[in-house]
C-alpha cells in the first residue's frame, strides 16, 4: 500500500505519547499514513510552522485554536482541534522554601484536595503569587486562574502568571523568580529530581476531566483533506486504546525515553504513565491514578462545550464579549469530523456534541451510538457546573 506521508510536530512531553505510539507501533500504517514526527523547541515555533503549512498537524495546547478564533495567541490562520490527544496530565509544584513554610503551617501535601492545597499555598505567600506556566494560552494558565480566583485570590492584582519554558522552571524556582509552577510531565518530576521543588497537586484535582492537548490542523487543511484527516484521527484513536492498556505502559515509557522523542530517563517518564510520584526531595510518594488519560470515556472526543469553557474563561480575563467568544470557540473543536472519522470503528461515541461540564461526581452512562459509553467523573473542585450555550 502507498502510505500517505504526513508531517506532524510535537513538544517533548509525556502527552505526546499518542503520536509517538501511532508512529512507532504501526497504528498509522494500519490507516495508510506514515508520520514524520518533528520535535519543536517551543509552542510558538510549533504554532508558526503549523500555521505556515510547514506541518500538516501538531500536538497543541487545547486553548491555542480557541485563542486563535478569538483573535489572540499569534495564530495567523484558523486552527481546528480534530481530536483531544490527552485529558489532564499537568502538575503543580512549589519552591522548596514555600513547601517548607506550608509544612510548618501544617499542610499534609495529600495531593488530592485542591481547596486545602490552594489555601495553604495562598497563606504561605506574602501578597502576589508568582506562578510559572509553559505558555500564555494553555490549560496550565486556565486551571491556575480558575483554581486561585475560586479560592478568593484576585487576578491580576495577586496572581502573576508568567511564561517560563519547562526546562527553565528549576532555575527560575532556584533564582526566586517564581514561587510555584504548573507544568506537564515529565517536568514536575524532573524538578523534584533536581531537588528544587515539592509537588503539590495534580491538575485533575482542580478539574477532573480537563482537555489538555489536542491534535491541531489548519481549518482549510482539514476541509481539503478530510479523508486523510479521518485516517490520522483513527490512527491516534488506535494508539490511545493501546496506551490505555496497563500492559503497554512499560513499552510506552521506553519509546518516549528515546533520543528522538523526550530523550530522558525512563524513571522520570514512567511517573506520569503509572500515576506514581515522588513529591519531595525527602522521597515522599503519592499516587494519582489516571493522572493523564488518552482513552477512557471517549477522552479523544473534542467536545464543543470544552472549547466553550476555554473561550469564556479567556474572554472574561481579556475583556472580550463572552457570548461571541463562546460561539467562536465552539466551532474550533471539530466533534463532527471526529465522529465521522470513527463512525466505523468506535462503538461508544457520544451522540451529543456538547455536554454540561463538571456535573459528574461519579462515572455515568451517557447517550451514545452503541449505548455503552460511560463518561468519567468530570467535577470541578469547587462544585461549579458549566452549562454550554444551546446550539
Amino acid at each position: 500500500m502507498n502510505l500517505h506521508k504526513l508531517n506532524v510536530g510535537f513538544i517533548p512531553l509525556v502527552d505526546a505519547a499518542p503520536l509517538i505510539a501511532a508512529s512507532e507501533m504501526g497504528f498509522a500504517e494500519e490507516e495508510g499514513v506514515s508520520l514524520t514526527l518533528s520535535r519543536s523547541p517551543s509552542w510558538s515555533t510549533l504554532r508558526d510552522k503549523l500555521c505556515a503549512g510547514h506541518l500538516d498537524a501538531a500536538h497543541m495546547l487545547a486553548p491555542v485554536p480557541v485563542a486563535g478564533a478569538l483573535g489572540m495567541g499569534g495564530v495567523s490562520t484558523p486552527l481546528h482541534a480534530l481530536s483531544v490527544l490527552s485529558v489532564n496530565g499537568n502538575i503543580i509544584g512549589v519552591s522548596r522554601s514555600i513547601g517548607e513554610r506550608m509544612r510548618a503551617a501544617g499542610h499534609d501535601f495529600a495531593f488530592n484536595d485542591a481547596t486545602k492545597a490552594g489555601r495553604a499555598l495562598i497563606d504561605a505567600i506574602e501578597d502576589t503569587l508568582r506562578i510559572g506556566v509553559p505558555f500564555p494560552f494553555s490549560m496550565h494558565a486556565e486551571l491556575v486562574y480558575y483554581w486561585l480566583t475560586a479560592l478568593g485570590l484576585d487576578a491580576p492584582q495577586n496572581i502573576s502568571v508568567q511564561t517560563v519554558p519547562p526546562p527553565m522552571m528549576p532555575d527560575a524556582l532556584k533564582a526566586g523568580d517564581i514561587d510555584a509552577f504548573c507544568v506537564g510531565e515529565p517536568w514536575g518530576s524532573s524538578s523534584v529530581e533536581a531537588g528544587v521543588a515539592d509537588l503539590l497537586l495534580p491538575c485533575s484535582a482542580i478539574w477532573a476531566f480537563a482537555p489538555e492537548k489536542v491534535l491541531a490542523a489548519r481549518a482549510d487543511w482539514a476541509d481539503e483533506n478530510q479523508e486523510i484527516a479521518h485516517r490520522l484521527i483513527r490512527a491516534l484513536w488506535r494508539a490511545s486504546r493501546w496506551l490505555s492498556d496497563p500492559s503497554s505502559r512499560g513499552l510506552a515509557t521506553e519509546l518516549l525515553s528515546r533520543e528522538a522523542y523526550l530523550d530522558l530517563a525512563p524513571e522520570i517518564i514512567e511517573c506520569a504513565l503509572f500515576g506514581r510520584f515522588t513529591i519531595s526531595a525527602r522521597g515522599d510518594m503519592r499516587r494519582s491514578p489516571g493522572f493523564v488519560d488518552f482513552f477512557t470515556g471517549a477522552a479523544g472526543f473534542p467536545w464543543r462545550s470544552q472549547a466553550e469553557w476555554i473561550g469564556r474563561q479567556l474572554a472574561a480575563r481579556m475583556g472580550l464579549d463572552r457570548d461571541a467568544a463562546a460561539k467562536a470557540a465552539q466551532a474550533t473543536f471539530r466533534s463532527d469530523v471526529y465522529r465521522t472519522a470513527l463512525a466505523q470503528v468506535a462503538y461508544d461515541l457520544p451522540s451529543a456534541s456538547a455536554k454540561v461540564e463538571g456535573s459528574l461526581t461519579e462515572p455515568l452512562a451517557a447517550g451514545s451510538v452503541g449505548g455503552r459509553l460511560i463518561l468519567p467523573r468530570d467535577a470541578f473542585f469547587d462544585g461549579r457546573i458549566f452549562e454550554p450555550t444551546p446550539d
Binding site: S42, S44, K49, A52, F135, Q162, T163, M168
Partner: protein
C-alpha cells in the same frame, strides 16, 4: 519573462532609527547577525545573551523589534508580551504580516522570528527581516553541511563494520566484502549504508 528582484536597498546605506533587540546566546552568531543588520543600515541594535528575566530586560530597552532564533527554547517567554496585561505596557505584537505570506514563510524557512511593536508599518519591518533572513539562511546552510558531514562519517563506520562482518563470515578480503555489499545494495535497490546497517543490526541478534 523573468522579473529580477530589486536589491538596490542593500547598497543604499540609509541610517535607520529602529531600535532592534537580538536574543542570541551564541556571541559569535550574534555578532554576525549584528554585522548583517548594520550593513543594511540598522545601527541601534542591542544583544541579549542571558535568557533569565528576558521579559524584564526587553521592557527596559523598549525596542521596536525583537529578533530571536526559532530554535531558541526561550522563545515562548516573548509570547506573553503580546498579551498586554497592564494598560501601561507597550503592546508587542507577534509579527504576522498577513499581506506578505512569502516573507513570513521565508522567515520560518530561515528559522528566525520577529516580534514587532504594535503599529509599526510592515514596510519598515521588511528590510530588517530581509537582512536577518539572509544571515539565518547562511547559518541554516552551515548546520545542514555539518549534519551531512556527521552522517557521512557515521555511515562510513557502519559500512566498515558490515565489511568486517562479511570478511569474517565468508573468509574473504576487504575488497571482495565491499563489492558483495555493493552488489546486494544494487540488487535490493537500496543505499549501501542502509544495507550495511540492516546487516549490522541483524548480526546483533545472532551474537
Amino acid at each position: 519573462m523573468l522579473y529580477l528582484p530589486d536589491h538596490s536597498f542593500r547598497k543604499a546605506r540609509v541610517t535607520n532609527d529602529l531600535a532592534i533587540i537580538l536574543v542570541e546566546p551564541d556571541r559569535d552568531k550574534a555578532n554576525q547577525i549584528v554585522d548583517s543588520l548594520a550593513e543594511a543600515g540598522f545601527e541601534r541594535i542591542q544583544v541579549i545573551t542571558e535568557p533569565s528575566s528576558l521579559k524584564r530586560q526587553i521592557q527596559a530597552m523598549n525596542p521596536d523589534i525583537v529578533l530571536i532564533d526559532m530554535a531558541n527554547p526561550s522563545r515562548d517567554m516573548l509570547e506573553e508580551m503580546a498579551v498586554a496585561s497592564q494598560p501601561m505596557d507597550r503592546a508587542v505584537a507577534v509579527f504576522v504580516d498577513r499581506s506578505d505570506d512569502a516573507l513570513t514563510s521565508a522567515a520560518i524557512e530561515a528559522g528566525v522570528s520577529a516580534y514587532v511593536v504594535d503599529g509599526l508599518r510592515p514596510d519598515r519591518v521588511k528590510p530588517v527581516l530581509d537582512a536577518a533572513i539572509a544571515r539565518f539562511n547562511v547559518f541554516q546552510r552551515m548546520r545542514t553541511e555539518l549534519a551531512e558531514t556527521k552522517r557521512a562519517l557515521e555511515e562510513r563506520k557502519v559500512i566498515d563494520r558490515a565489511k568486517g562482518l562479511i570478511m569474517k563470515a565468508k573468509g574473504i578480503d576487504e575488497d571482495a566484502a565491499y563489492s558483495l555489499l555493493r552488489k546486494a545494495a544494487m540488487n535490493q535497490g537500496k543505499r549501501l549504508a542502509d544495507v550495511a546497517e540492516a546487516l549490522v543490526e541483524s548480526a546483533g541478534l545472532l551474537s
